[in-house]
Amino acid sequence: MAEKPVLSRSSVTECEGVSELEGGADHRPSNGKTRWYKQTFDPAVAKHPERDAAFITGSSTPVDPLYTREDLADRNLSYDTDIGYPGEFPYTRGIHPSGYRGKLWTMRQFAGFGTAEDSNERYLRLLEMGQTGLSVAFHHPTLVGRDSDELIARGEVGKQGVAIDSLADMETLFDQIPLEQVTTSMTINHPACVLLCMYVAAGQKKGIAPRDLAGTIQNDVLKEFIAQKTFVFPPLPAMRIMGDVIEWCTAEMPRWNWVSVSGYHIREAGSTAAQELAFTLRDGMEYVQAGLDRGLDIDSFAPRLSFFFIAHNDLFEEVAKYRAARKLWARYMRDRYGAKSPRSWWIRFHTQTAGSTLLDRQPRNNVMRVTLQALAAVMGGTQSLHTNALDETIALPTEENALIALRTQQVIAHESGVANTVDPLGGSYYIESLTADIEEEAEEIFTKIDELGGMVSAIDNGYPQREIQEAAYQYQKEIEQNQRIIVGQNDFLGEMGEPVNYLYIDDTVEEKQVERLAALRRRRDAAEVERTLEAVRCAAGSDVNLMPAILEAVHAYATVGEICGAMRDVFGEYHEQPIF
């Protein structure tokens, strides 16, 4: 067994001279931790060894047996400048002065399956059960800018999200839902410009102006290349479209978050917590630069930049990650980009519990995993939260399992007491040390990406992809070598557990959707479709903003596949160089 690697920090302090620290001309606290190790901890451990050779976080970082005020001194942490107060720079403790005492987080369950009718029915039910925001999951053909009747979509229609091919489907999806009252989040990236226009058009048909629509579109084009991989366009055109969306939304949709910069998929692809944070914030900085490059005032568009993180298993590490995120973003926005409005300094984020941590063995245990992860998100100050259903690893959730997931949030909100005070873990020696360490690690990654020439060059270089892959392999090895225990996977196996009911999407959904699309193609004005698609092609080939042309094509009932196709004609299509 390897020797304990974890006591290095206190030994560094010791080398600096115990007497000076104890004599304390610099007012650092006396070095009690070193003394405690020597006098109390080491003899006790010599008698009763610890149960593991090394204790590590979810990201494989060594954890000390104890954190004390010396750890804060070692990191030069000052309460006023590093931790501070909620609602004040650097926002480590939260962006709202009263935390959840004023308003709870938005309980926003990601949902979508089958046809637009199927999902509409689920949304109406979720709203009736007390959910406070909608979140649309599109099926994969839509995510990659293809239609349900294309060969490449075979077998995937309506399976992992809702099939949306045209404005007609979007109208059905939001039937009877008051779009001026709900906030809607849409997970779509390279085709975001098209789906946003479909949402806008659906609103216009109900008599609601774009400026009255509130919500978020993921539109995080860069993380597609390093994690989620539902890319369509190469990086440079993708960033050009991003610029168009920023410009258009800033002018037309003041209540709309035009991006949700996402760490969720980066972590699900296997990164560490610090990598998730660093790659996400660095992607965010590229989008800020894209807005600046359009000549926009930073404070006109940066407040509508939102984020999306994961809540993984290690509760303290996750809380530290959210705190470090707030602090870093505020500092970079103010000092690197010169934002003056506090709203530009705020990092507002959605959180989802980690799908990849759920098991199909003993599936009911997933409820406990989700609860702990959700607790981390809440204690970390998330603005909105999706809790995964226990059957997430097998299928999309059944209504029953989706309800348990929502109820989990309601129990945390109203019964646990964690929402009573702001940043309840703030001031914990462990949490503050972890927050500082993650912040430092993220900044090292920023430097590396800056040296590579920014995120687009780093992606071309393969740097984030390699880092994520390496971390994923490491995590898997830790499980297979039993250095990391997963209940029901490599220990406490017991029985498989009673199988749970799950949602099964059969192939009739595909038949229905393909038929519906064929009917649409027959009834729409083909010449108008062709004319508006040509206008999209034209806009793509010039430096005119694409959004007005796309909106017009959407109103003519051109499909996702056709509009993305027109853009593919000009921009080309991205193909990944597979590396492993």
Partner: protein, 152 residues
Amino acid sequence: MVSAAREPKPVLPLSEKGPEKHIRVLVAKPGLDGHDRGAKIVARALRDAGMEVIYAGLRQTPEMVVKAAVQEDVDVIGLSIHSGAHNYILERVAELLKEHDAEDIGLVVGGIIPDRDVERLQGLGVDAIFPPGTTTTEIIKFIRQRMGEVAT
């Protein structure tokens, strides 16, 4: 197909054996989704276990998979499917393998496969389905056994 060796084998990691003994595996990720974490981990683990791995990557159609498998003369095809399209993809792969007279190529699948589809897929000639939580050790062991080698 490598025949089962009956005589005692020297205890050597596979990577140190002659190249003629290497098991060749095509790892591909059909479907439109980007969940390639599992496929990449498995590809790397198989390579570390001494197999020759051809990693085809994302968005592979059944036609692309079978073409590559035949061209590369692989022993086993490993497909990672998370998109829910497993029934369509595997039916088509099985059909194409038959057309190419390549049914001796092993076919293993990992990812999200609902229980109710398992029997149907086995009927198509899928040799193994590895659900989430399967270790790379289990996968390596299965492939070696499938190839008639003594599992280490």
